[in-house]
Symmetry: C2
Subunit: 185 residues, 2 copies
DNA sequence: CCCAGAACTTGTCAGCGACAAGATTGCGGG
DNA sequence: CCCGCAATCTTGTCGCTGACAAGTTCTGGG
């Protein structure tokens, strides 16, 4: 018999949620199923997340943190804006579950402070990249930023929903697409 | 007492679903609630859609049809590719519920023939636009098409999830964004 | 050592989707 | 005209779910 206290239930449930969402999408996930997967009673997870939305909010926050880290890392080793876009796409494809949840405000507690913090951090990395780009293209900062975010986000979304699939290497295709918008690096 | 036969229950349920999804997102919708809104017993809608996924599939198909019509109409009056992109965005903002459901394959019967037909029609309109564009830019047809779809789709998604909002006129912003990718018209 | 609170369980409730079986209605063939 | 049949809608039920309440077990700080 497993011990009464799980040890790190919170992390375990989050991990199970990632698996479940990756398989069946955010709609096909129940707290009770996650509890079962983790070997805990049906109300165990509630204590850590309060809500189903609370669980997904925690997942989204984790996602923004991962994204911020990834963006930060590539900004450290290159100032290629295209490369930053590819990093965004790579994150979305590698962390499909996190990415899906991050952009479903109807499933989240959008006012959660931890979520806001993580999102702002990721936003700052993105904005920093746009700013660096601005040295080349003055004016239209806002438009350029929106365009950049739109194109990588759209690509990631379309790929993840199976609308772009055609045997190609997604990262390479993403690179060519991003390069169409900004320069040739 | 209302008559036993509703008259056009199918259409009524679809309309109610649009309202409900627009308000609460696709997750916050139940067949039973739609049945109540329409004034019909809890199992009424089932007969017309078989499934909850069936209902959403019908909605998605309707969405693709509307999109195809819209794209076709603007292709008839201009060959500006940017304008075609703005039409895509305008559709997504005006028909938020349809648009959301169209790109959630985990909620749909993706193999539904009516859905496939409608989707193909919309895809053909889009592809036609890209082809016309190809007269200007040879080669890279595939890349250009993906880039165009990505940027308008990303813009629409980000706007609809509240990530771009800042008091600006979305269509005008979309126009500037699309123009960054292709030409200046 | 002990006890306050954190971590987890058990029990319960209403709402949901799916299904089955029955009631009502309109419609086409005779 | 009417009969029967199929489409449409209702009623009833099942297992599952999220939320909540109350109880049980563990753990760490004083």
């Amino acid at each position: 018999m497993p011990p009464y206290h799980h040890g790190d239930l919170r992390r375990a449930v989050l991990a199970a949620a990632v698996d479940a969402i990756t398989e069946h999408g955010p709609a096909g996930v129940s707290l009770r199923d996650l509890a079962r997967r983790v070997g805990v009673s049906h109300a165990g997870p509630v204590h850590h997340f309060k809500d189903k939305a609370g669980l997904l909010t925690a997942l989204a926050a984790e996602g923004y943190a991962l994204l911020a880290d990834a963006l930060n890392a590539t900004r450290a080793e290159t100032d290629s804006f295209v490369e930053l876009g590819v990093t965004y796409v790579r994150f979305a494809l590698r962390h499909k579950a996190h990415f899906e949840v991050m952009f479903r405000p109807d499933l989240l507690h959008t006012d959660d402070p931890a979520l806001a913090r993580a999102r702002d951090r990721a936003g700052a990395e993105l904005a920093g990249g746009v700013e660096a780009l601005g040295e080349k293209r003055t004016g239209e900062q806002r438009t350029a930023g929106v365009a950049a975010w739109s194109i990588v986000h759209g690509f990631a979304t379309l790929w993840n929903t199976g609308n772009l699939d055609s045997g190609e290497n997604p990262e390479e295709l993403a690179h060519r697409v991003a390069a169409m918008l900004f320069g040739d690096d």
